[in-house]
C-alpha cells in the first residue's frame, strides 16, 4: 500500500532521517539495537534504538547536536518512528561509525599511536563536551571506532541510554562503579578522563588488565590500594604512559588532568599532584564479613552490609574504631553525632531512621561516595533514570528509590558530605521532589517522579504501549491510533499511567480534572477523564480525533443512564454519536456537563412522580366510587324518564280540560 507524503514525512526522524530496518548494525553501538539510516537517500548514519527503562539523555541530546569535533558521533536527530511490526520506537540518529570498534581489533598499541590517535582526539572531543557542560560516560573499547590503522579514533554514541549504564565496572571510578547502572548520573568530565585512562591501559596492554577478576574484588582493590594499582596491578606500562595514566586514574576527580591538559600529553605527564594517603588502621574492623582498613573501605562496608552496620554505629563500635584504630577523632565525633541524631529520630518503625544513619555515616566517612539508601547507591542526578529503570525491571528497588525522594535523603546526604551543592539549595530541591512524590493525585508518585525528572521517559500506559509518547502533545495522537486499532473493551479512557504522565508534564488548567481523577482510579470518573482529554485537545489544538471520540462516546454512554428521562437519554445518545463522528471531545464533555439539562431532567422526574401518584390515587378512587356513580346515574335516568312522563301527563290534562 502506498504511503501518503504526510505519512512518509512522519516516518522520518527529525523530518530528515529514514531508518532502514532491513539493515541492522550489530556492533555500531553495543549493546543497543542499531539500524542503518539515511538522510535524503544518502547513507552514512545509524539509528540507535532507545529501550524502555533505559531513557535517553535529554539534555545531552540538545546540547551536543552541533558538535564541531570529528572525533565523536554526535546525535544529529532523535524521535519516534514506526517499526516494521507496527510499533513505534524511539531512535537517536548519529553518524555511522567510520570503522570497526577497537575491541574488534584489540591489540597492544604503541605509545605514540596511543597519544596521537587516541589521547589527543579524545581530549579534543572531551574538551568540546566540557565546554557544553556535558559528559560522555561511554568511553570503552567497544564504543571507540577507527576507520583504518594509524587514524584518529572516534568516540561512539552515548546518548541513547542513561550515562555510564553500560560501562564495565572496572572502567568507572569507584564512586560510580558501586552505583546502580542506571543511577550513575551525568558525573563530570573527570569521570570521562578516568574511563579514558582505563581504556589507555587496556590498549597499551592489548588486553583487559583485570580479565577474570570479579568486579567486587576490583572495587575493593580500588578502595584499598587506589585505582591505578587496582587496574594496572603487576602489568608493565610504557614508562611515558605511567605518569599520564596515574594522573587520569586518580581517585580524587580534582586530581585528574583536564581535557585541555590532555591535549598536550607532555604537560599532562609533568603535572603531578601528590594525594594524601588515607589513614590506615592498625587493625581492620569487620562489618558484615568485610574487613575495612580505612574510612573509605568502612563506608563501602556500611553500604554492602547495612543490617550489620546499623547496630555497630548505634553502640559505638565504629566510633571507637575510628578514634582508636584510625585516629580520626573528627570523623568519630561526626559519626557519634549522627548516631545521636538517629536516636532523636526514632519515629519510623520500618528502619528508615537506621537507613538514614547509614546514609549520613557513609557521607561523613567518604565524602566522594555516592548517596546510599538501603544498600542502593546512586548519584542524585541519576535518581530519575534509576527510578525509571527500577520501575521497569526491579519494583522492589523502585520502592526504596522513591523513598529517597519522600525522606529527603539527598538533603541529609549533602549536609553531611560537605562541599558540593549548597545545603539550602539541596533542601529546597528535596522539598520540591517530595512534593512531586507525595503531591501526586493519581496515586502513582514514583512514576510521576520518574516522568517529571526525566522528560525522555515515555508514557507507560498500555493504551499507548505501541507508541512512544514523551511529550504531552503526543498522547492524543497515540490514543487515537490505539482507538482506531482496537475496541475499547473495559479499559478506562485515562488510566493511572496516562493521568500520571499528564500530571507530570502538567498544565495547571488540567489540575481540576486531575484532582477529580485522584480517587477515581478504582471507580473511574469517566466525565473527568473525558474532560481531561477534551482540555488536552483544546490546549494542544490537535486535529479531529474521530476514533478516540467514538471510544469516549462508548465509555461515557453509561453516564446517560444518570438521566431519568428515556426520551432525553435517547436524544442525548444520538447527539453524542453525532459529536463523536465530528471528532471533537470538548462538545461531548460540554453536553454531559450541561447543568440546565440535568436540572430539567430532575424537575421533569419530580413532576412525573407527582403526576403518577395523582393517577394512581384517581384509579384507586375510581373503583371505590363506581357503585355510587352508577346509582347516581340510574337516579338521573329515572328522573329524566319521569320528566318525560310528567310532560305527557300535563299535555293530556290540558287536552282533557281545554280540549
Amino acid at each position: 500500500m502506498a504511503t501518503s507524503p504526510k505519512e512518509a514525512a512522519a516516518a522520518l526522524i527529525g523530518g530528515l532521517y529514514a531508518v532502514d530496518f532491513d539493515q541492522p548494525m550489530p556492533n555500531a553501538a553495543p549493546p543497543l539495537t542499531t539500524y542503518a539510516a539515511s538522510r535524503g537517500g544518502v547513507p552514512g548514519f545509524m539509528a540507535v534504538a532507545v529501550s524502555r527503562g533505559w531513557p535517553a539523555r535529554g539534555r545531552a541530546l540538545g546540547a551536543v547536536s552541533n558538535l564541531g569535533t570529528p572525533h565523536m558521533l554526535p546525535p544529529v536527530a532523535h524521535g519516534p518512528t514506526t517499526m516494521p511490526g507496527g510499533e513505534t520506537g524511539y531512535f537517536v540518529i548519529c553518524p555511522a561509525p567510520p570503522g570497526p570498534s577497537l575491541l574488534a581489533n584489540l591489540r597492544a598499541w604503541p605509545e605514540a599511536e596511543l597519544t596521537d590517535f587516541v589521547l589527543k582526539p579524545m581530549a579534543l572531543a572531551l574538551g568540546e563536551l566540557q565546554a557544553r557542560d556535558v559528559t560522555h560516560r561511554a568511553i570503552r573499547p567497544d564504543n571507540l571506532f577507527q576507520s583504518a590503522p594509524r587514524t584518529p579514533v572516534t568516540l561512539g554514541c552515548a546518548w541513547a541510554t542513561p550515562p555510564a549504564c553500560h560501562q564495565p565496572s572496572w572502567m568507572e571510578p569507584a564512586y560510580s562503579a558501586v552505583c546502580l547502572p542506571a543511577g550513575r548520573g551525568d558525573g563530570r568530565i573527570a569521570d570521562d578522563v578516568y574511563s579514558l585512562g582505563a581504556l589507555m591501559v587496556m590498549l597499551a596492554l592489548g588486553a583487559n588488565p583485570v580479565e577474570g577478576v570479579p568486579d567486587e574484588e576490583v572495587l575493593r582493590n580500588k578502595l584499598e590500594f587506589g585505582s591505578y594499582s587496582a587496574i594496572v596491578g603487576n602489568h608493565r606500562l610504557p614508562p611515558i604512559l605511567v605518569d599520564l595514566v596515574r594522573g587520569m586514574l586518580a581517585d580524587d576527580p580534582e586530581h585528574r588532568p583536564s581535557p585541555a591538559l590532555l591535549a598536550n600529553p607532555a604537560a599532562a605527564r609533568a603535572r603531578r599532584i601528590a594525594a594524601r594517603p588515607a589513614r590506615r588502621a592498625q587493625r581492620p574492623i569487620e562489618v558484615g564479613g568485610q574487613h575495612a582498613w580505612t574510612s573509605r573501605m568502612l563506608a563501602h562496608a556500611l553500604m554492602r552490609a547495612p543490617n550489620a552496620a546499623s547496630p555497630m554505629l548505634r553502640n559505638g563500635t565504629i566510633d571507637r574504631w575510628l578514634r582508636r584504630g584510625v585516629g580520626d577523632v573528627t570523623a568519630a565525633s561526626a559519626i557519634d553525632e549522627a548516631a545521636r541524631m538517629r536516636d532523636a529520630e526514632v519515629l519510623a518503625a520500618d528502619g528508615k531512621a537506621d537507613a538514614m544513619l547509614i546514609t549520613r555515616s557513609i557521607a561523613l566517612l567518604d565524602p566522594a561516595a555516592p548517596l546510599v539508601w538501603r544498600g542502593l547507591a546512586i548519584w542524585p542526578d541519576g535518581l530519575a533514570n534509576a527510578l525509571d529503570n527500577a520501575l521497569h525491571f526491579a519494583p522492589e528497588q523502585a520502592e526504596a528509590l522513591a523513598e529517597i525522594a519522600t525522606a529527603q535523603v539527598p538533603t541529609a546526604w549533602v549536609e553531611k558530605r560537605g562541599g558540593g551543592r549548597d545545603a539550602t539549595v539541596s533542601r529546597l530541591e528535596g522539598l520540591e521532589t517530595r512534593h512531586w512524590f507525595t503531591g501526586s493525585r493519581t496515586g502513582a508518585g514514583a512514576w510521576r517522579l520518574s516522568y517529571h525528572l526525566n522528560p525522555m521517559v515515555p508514557c507507560e500506559s498500555p493504551a499507548t504501549a505501541r507508541a512512544w509518547v514523551v511529550r504531552l502533545a503526543d498522547i492524543l495522537p497515540a490514543l487515537e491510533a490505539t482507538a482506531a486499532r482496537s475496541p475499547r473493551g473495559d479499559q478506562p479512557l485515562v488510566d493511572r499511567q496516562i493521568a500520571t504522565f499528564i500530571e507530570a508534564r502538567r498544565d495547571e488548567r488540567l489540575d481540576v480534572d486531575l484532582s477529580r481523577l485522584a480517587g477515581a482510579m478504582t471507580a473511574p470518573d469517566l466525565l473527568s477523564q473525558l474532560r481531561l482529554l477534551a482540555r488536552l485537545q483544546g490546549k494542544l489544538s490537535t486535529t479531529d480525533l474521530p476514533n478516540l471520540s467514538r471510544w469516549a462516546a462508548d465509555a461515557v454512554q453509561p453516564m446517560l443512564q444518570h438521566f431519568s428521562s428515556r426520551s432525553r437519554r435517547q436524544r442525548l445518545a444520538e447527539r453524542l454519536s453525532a459529536l463523536a463522528q465530528a471528532g471533537q471531545l470538548a462538545p461531548m464533555a460540554a453536553m454531559l456537563d450541561d447543568e440546565p439539562e440535568q436540572e430539567s431532567d430532575k424537575h421533569g422526574l419530580a413532576g412525573a412522580k407527582a403526576r403518577l401518584a395523582e393517577i394512581e390515587a384517581a384509579l384507586a378512587e375510581w373503583s371505590e366510587l363506581a357503585e355510587i356513580k352508577a346509582a347516581q346515574a340510574r337516579r338521573v335516568g329515572h328522573e329524566v324518564a319521569d320528566g318525560v312522563g310528567l310532560l305527557a301527563c300535563v299535555v293530556a290534562l290540558g287536552f282533557a280540560v281545554f280540549g
Binding site: E616, A618, A641
Partner: protein
C-alpha cells in the same frame, strides 16, 4: 348477645300511612264509585307495580303512573260528562280501546324506566372507560418515560 342488644340504640318505629291510603280508597269507592272504578281499571298495572316494587322511590311505578294518568284524564272527563255514575263508567270501560290504551301507556312507562336504567348505565360505562383509558395511557407513558420498569398490563 343480650348485652349487645341492650347497649344498641332502640330503633324508631317507622310510621305507616297504609291505613290512610285504605281510608281514601274506601271513601272514594263509597262517594264516587264510577270514577274510582275508572281510575282503578285504567291504572291497574301501575297500582300493581306500585304494590310489588321494592324501595322507597319506586321509580318504575312512578313512571307507569304518570303515563297511565296521561291516558286516564280524557276518559274521566267523558265519564264526568255522562254523570260519573257506575253504569256510565262500566259503559265506557266496555270499550276495550280505553283500558288497552291506558295499559299500553303504563307499559311504556315501565319500558322507559327500564331503558333509562340501561341507557344511563351504558353511557356511564362508556364515559368511565374513556376516562380510565386516558388515565392508564398517561400513567403508562410516564412509567416508560421516567422509570426503567414496564407498565403493568
Amino acid at each position: 348477645m343480650a348485652k349487645a342488644s341492650a347497649s344498641a340504640t332502640p330503633a324508631v318505629p317507622r310510621r305507616s300511612w297504609f291505613w290512610l291510603q285504605g281510608v281514601i280508597c274506601g271513601v272514594a269507592v263509597a262517594v264516587v264509585p264510577g270514577t274510582a272504578l275508572m281510575i282503578g281499571v285504567l291504572m291497574a298495572p301501575a297500582f300493581a307495580t306500585y304494590a310489588m316494587e321494592q324501595g322507597k322511590t319506586r321509580p318504575l311505578a312512578r313512571g307507569m303512573m304518570l303515563r297511565g294518568a296521561a291516558c286516564t284524564f280524557m276518559p274521566l272527563r267523558v265519564l264526568w260528562e255522562h254523570g260519573g255514575s257506575l253504569d256510565a263508567s262500566l259503559d265506557l270501560l266496555s270499550d276495550p280501546g280505553r283500558p288497552l290504551l291506558a295499559w299500553t301507556a303504563c307499559g311504556a312507562g315501565w319500558l322507559a324506566g327500564q331503558l333509562a336504567d340501561i341507557l344511563t348505565r351504558l353511557a356511564l360505562d362508556a364515559r368511565s372507560a374513556r376516562a380510565l383509558r386516558q388515565l392508564t395511557q398517561e400513567r403508562d407513558k410516564l412509567i416508560v418515560e421516567w422509570t426503567d420498569e414496564q407498565p403493568p398490563k
